[in-house]
Amino acid sequence: MADRDRKGREDAADAGGAALPASGPDHPQHSLRAPRRRQVQESLIGGVLFLGSAVSVLTTIGIVGVLIYESVAFFRAVSPFEFLTGTRWAPLFVPQSFGVLPLLTGSLLVAAGAAIVALPIGLASAIYLSEYAKPRVRNVIKPALEVLAGIRTVVYGFFALTFVTPILQGIWPETQIFNALSASLVVGVMIIPVVASLSEDSMNAVPTALREAAYALGATKLEVAIRTVLPAALSGIVASFILAISRAIGETMIVAIAAGATPNLTLNPFESVQTMTAYIVQVSMGEVSFGTVEYQTIFAVGLTLFALTLLMNIASIFVLRRFREVYE
């Protein structure tokens, strides 16, 4: 339908632009063809607009190009095998060591903690908003969740360090000042709106007829929500989960502030860890000179981060396309 509209629009545009036949011999001076100057102007404008669009393509090429170019230089000095399997990350100290695993587990530890917080809470919020909430309640809760999504990450970092960490230390005295737990709890809160709003969208898209059919069979509201709506909206929900976790892995300021700066191959959430993003921030804040291996670590770690999040984003798009239940 949309395609047909568009086709009509394009035909009409071409007609307006050039293709109308000139009028009959009675009025030779009143040609309906657009003046030549205007035709040139039209195609110029089209070209300029296209150039604008090219910026986004150039951005991608720039990101991939820069990351690969500098990483290649890095991998001339450090073998990719050492990078991917080494268990000690210490590029700024002597003896240097370039095993990315501590940073990777740091990122994954924080992301896993965040997922444990955000996925159930976000999904439950989505179910409440889509299946239970009256319009008046929704109109209050949805904007509040949008505000939550609008809070800047540096603010969340402040909250994690000065509010959440002291509470954790009160409960578990062995908690270090910088610790993975505090960061992952707060990253979790940060990604709740991602899960909630995307999941709710896909649950709203489930046709009412499906719910009514379930009610007609005697299901309770909960059974309708869990056994009918949830499975029907599953692709959107899974996509929102993947996207939220990818967001947690890419999150920088909260972990840079609250999780610390000690590359630490551990799964203990009470200890300080360093994520890939926090490492990149740490290096760029110090005085590392251009062209050294230390400088190139930014790009090697950045490439790892970019590849990981890109894979997850593609996976979420794939899940949405492949497993979408289409009604009507």
Binding site: G52, A196, T220
Partner: protein, 295 residues
């Protein structure tokens, strides 16, 4: 519900009490979960306000940062943020609108268009720090702009463009097709149609999207740290090639100090940042209303 008497009852037991009980419990649980996020928001705001408000003063807004917490202020960061903001807006708005127009009104249905569209969706999900790496390598090093306002603005432009383009496309798509057809029927060219019919109608949506994207740029920290906007800056930038710092980075450097006094002024800085962001959203709403009335 319990009225199903007779022979069938042994085989069909609705267990209504249990099931409705479960339903009520689940409802309470869902409601509780919904309030976790909102409650955290309230606690966070109260925490920031109680710590920050006592340190807010005209002096705080109007002085430069300092090694002494009681003398430190946020002037350089505030002006730095404004500089970056204005430059980012000036660069990103035409680019974003041009791309949105091209994709919606000009682009042929081809794999090129599809690739560009897909590419924009992917760019929107790239972690912001990766844009910082790009900015560091391309603008700071390659183009030798140094750690300047313009390098920061260009980096943030690339960061927010995908969001702006997607918002712009939605706004343009919401213009009814009959408007375009009517314009063509009167002999208008494609650009005349876009310029005089589509854009004015789509403008409120485009502006709202732009301002929301810009408010994201104002709060963005990591990419600007990457391009080196962390240095101690005791002055207001004079031009696009000056060094600078911005609000979130100033807040970050204060948080990173071990002394609790600096945490308090970080809270005060956060309040300034939140006020800036809030006024942005207010402007977005006002602009939208103004344009909505006109068209």
């Amino acid at each position: 519900m319990n009225g199903l008497a007779g022979r069938g009852q042994e085989r069909f037991a609705p267990r209504s009490k249990l099931r409705y009980g479960k339903g009520r419990a689940a409802r309470a649980l869902f409601l509780l979960a919904t309030f976790v996020g909102i409650l955290t928001l309230v606690v966070l705001l109260v925490d920031v306000l109680t710590q920050g408000v006592p340190h807010l003063s005209w002096n705080f807004v109007n002085s430069f940062s300092s090694r002494f917490a009681e003398r430190a202020g946020i002037k350089a960061a505030l002006f730095g943020s404004l500089w970056v903001l204005v430059l980012t807006a000036v660069i990103s708005f035409p680019l974003g609108v041009a791309t949105a127009i091209w994709l919606e009104e000009y682009a042929p249905r081809s794999w090129v268009t599809k690739t560009i569209q897909m590419n924009i969706a992917n760019l929107a999900a790239v972690p912001s720090i990766v844009y910082g790496i790009l900015g560091l390598a391309v603008f700071v090093r390659w183009f030798e702009m140094g750690q300047s306002v313009i390098a920061g603005a260009l980096t943030l432009t690339l960061l927010i463009l995908p969001v702006m383009i997607i918002a712009g496309q939605e706004a343009i798509r919401s213009v009814p097709n009959s408007i375009r057809l009517a314009s063509y029927a009167l002999g208008a060219t494609r650009w005349q149609t876009v310029r005089r019919q589509v854009l004015p109608m789509a403008m409120p949506g485009i502006l709202t999207g732009t301002i929301l994207a810009l408010s994201r740029a104002v709060g963005e920290t990591a990419p600007l740290i990457m391009i080196g906007a962390v240095a101690y800056v005791p002055f207001v930038p004079d031009g696009p090639f000056d060094q600078f710092t911005v609000l979130p980075i100033q807040i970050f450097t204060w948080i990173s100090r071990p002394q609790p006094e600096f945490h308090d002024i970080a809270a005060a800085g956060i309040i300034v940042l939140l006020v800036v962001l809030l006024s942005f959203n207010l402007i977005a709403i006002l602009l939208r209303n103004r344009f909505a009335k006109r068209s």
